[in-house]
Symmetry: D2
Subunit: 244 residues, 4 copies
């Protein structure tokens, strides 16, 4: 399969070029970045493009790719509902084209969110702990907030977490995200980690995800590249590619 | 719902009697143990029986229950394929009766095995660590062996765990169960714990189950009691009751 | 060594009687509870008494024991500075008597607090996570608060934890105990657990203590019983008995 | 303090140059590598040298440094007892010079080994789990073997780990290092991690060290640089610099 990278000279793009080169079943057909003509893609018989560029240019990229029947695996951010609708309308005119847009390609992160949702209805208690390096600006992390919301939705109608806390210090019991306590740890030396803890009578279940390195998106992008030809139209996230 | 316990004076049976009494939607209709007549069950309008008895008597119990249209949730051990076939043939004559037989009612254990299977194809590496009190006779535990086998099956056709170990001590890399390394820890103070570790480029996923107390079977038994009327015929394990 | 238990019919006392009986080098000389005469202790040639009674009676017990040259290992609570001074004054008159009073006999808990203090000056970041059953009234736990204070003291003069959090939810970053963030998890199925996380450039150190069972005080009490004869006067806590 | 780096263009050396530059209280006085004259060190009024070079040249470096009254913090490997004796004899002639040679500068690793030794006599059971990337050639790791040996020594005279294992698979119970079971996990995505698990009645203590990044040696080297002037003669390891 002939695969090109858009945003090839960025940090993520460079890593993706290396990963495509290293894969036996893939050929790196073009490396394209700002200033290069998109015609490099058609000229190189590219079948799939990996796009890690910028919200300012990604829509133009997608228009070109869809028009030319090149499939796109997109990690660029900034997709509003309106943008997604535009992509869908372009794809309606080119039913052979396929686009996959994912906010997170780390398979472990996606699986741990999925498992947390599935487990949620069967436990009395659930809490989320997320642990990151101390340079992070938001607490809780976006992933932890999303995880807590998915869990809360899966527990709709069930009693809240039992909690007899009557005296204590502000903040000890964490932030409340739709009824799920979320705790944020910031520690030099850490990268990005998350634990979902479930408890019921006599047993607990813990689902932990550790991102130890910025390359954790690679296997998810390659999975999408290999499957996208079989998924015409728009796919959101890599979860639909997994057999869950 | 009127629920009776067979084996009511055993350790597990006593716990189950307490649990039924404590549940708002269930009534404890009878407590039956060795020496008591099974007619106590029919006489008390019992709808569901929880059976934690003994391999020697469980088949007679099931015959009686199926014949009398009483559903059975069974934690008693010793069910061979032959025994299961016999139960199925009895149920064929009483299509309104339902029997659920499970080797493990701990929801956390069942979920962690299920999640491990689902995650298995998406990671390069997987290992299992099980940790128990030091009075345990077998290593690895039965649950760890079963978990490793399910993982191995889910990875059929994929490359083996990468492992560059060239020098070392016997046993360091654990026991090999169908290609999955399994490590057994025995420590005073522990109860029953298991960790499945998955790894791929830059990230790991850990699924950990802790059984801290012998009551961990209770929520799974109650789940089965509440759903069994909707599942005529024979059900094996509680996994089919979970929305996974 | 002849050892008696005061408060012998309470939950803890019963466990201690069993533990003394099970120890090859100890003899259970008397089991004394409310209503029994303290002369049972002198009459039975008791050398060491284990006192798990009540703040209302423990001072009378200690007076009797000190006067009679019987050593005391005390887990009863309620010792104010004033009470400790009184015990010291009684011991001044009986320099051969020994009393050890400890708020916590769990060796693992004591060690983990000690190690946390020792490690504290060498890491940029430190946070405490404590995890308990949901029936607990206070958050953070007393042990977590004490641990955080000891850590804060050991880091006096060092820069605070780095933390770039600028947006977030109330409580996400935990409770602030003298500059150390403390997070309290409440989960059905848990008993009593605590993790101290330290981080510096490229590495983290985690000290975790799990209390899985109410018997965790036993080894510490037996350690104190065996060593008390060598420690005349008043000893506070079991830390001085450990070779640290 | 004026600090130079020997081996300044190697991977570790480059990191150390950056670290010295970033430290407010240190000045990078010289960057020296193969081909450069050692007189760059004396010419730049260097007070302390950090040596991450090669066993072939480190002895010549040390001779020069000791002769010139420059203190040395050495991470280069290959120090036999004979070499250490030679260094000691050189220092005997220059009592004002100080040399610190350490096999491991990661403070977390050193602390966790120290704590494991201290805790060892107080628990019935102890096991070591080490977890590394799958490119590692040896299992168990050198650190795990050393940790297990130190633990075994600290438990000399105590009963062995209780273990009722009577049936099982080869390797399940790990490698035996002086009576301490050691388990080696190899997982894509991991870096270098180690857990020491202690257990006694009703409680466990876990000391975990995670090396997430190759920079973990930096804080230990800087600690040694800042203290070495107060420690004339030869110091082995950074443990003596820590207040433990």
């Amino acid at each position: 399969m002939r695969v090109a990278v858009l945003g090839a000279r960025g940090k993520v793009g460079t890593t993706m070029c290396d990963a495509v080169r290293a894969a036996d079943d893939l050929t790196l057909s073009a490396e394209v970045d700002a200033g290069d003509a998109l015609s490099l893609l058609t000229g190189s018989d590219t079948e799939v493009v990996i796009d890690f560029t910028h919200p300012d240019v990604v829509m133009d990229n997608l228009k070109f790719l869809i028009d030319n029947g090149i499939h796109a695996v997109v990690g660029t951010t900034g997709f509003t509902d309106e943008r997604l609708d535009t992509v869908r309308s372009w794809l309606a005119d080119h039913p052979e084209s396929a686009v996959l847009i994912a906010p997170n390609f780390a398979i472990g992160a996606v699986l741990s969110m999925h498992f947390a949702q599935k487990a949620a209805p069967y436990f009395e208690s659930v809490e989320v702990i997320e642990l990151h390096h101390p340079h992070k600006a938001d607490a809780p992390s976006g992933t932890a907030t999303r995880t807590a919301r998915l869990i809360a939705e899966a527990r709709k109608g069930l009693p809240p977490n039992p909690d007899a806390t009557s005296t204590g210090l502000d903040g000890a019991r964490g932030a409340d995200v739709d009824g799920v306590p979320v705790h944020s740890i910031r520690l030099t030396g850490l990268v990005a980690h998350q634990e979902v803890l479930f408890g019921t009578l006599g047993e607990t279940l813990t689902i932990r995800h550790d991102s130890l390195d910025r390359t954790s998106f690679v296997p998810g992008v390659l999975l999408a590249v290999r499957q996208i030809a079989n998924r015409p139209g728009l796919t959101i996230g890599i979860e639909p590619l997994l057999d869950l």
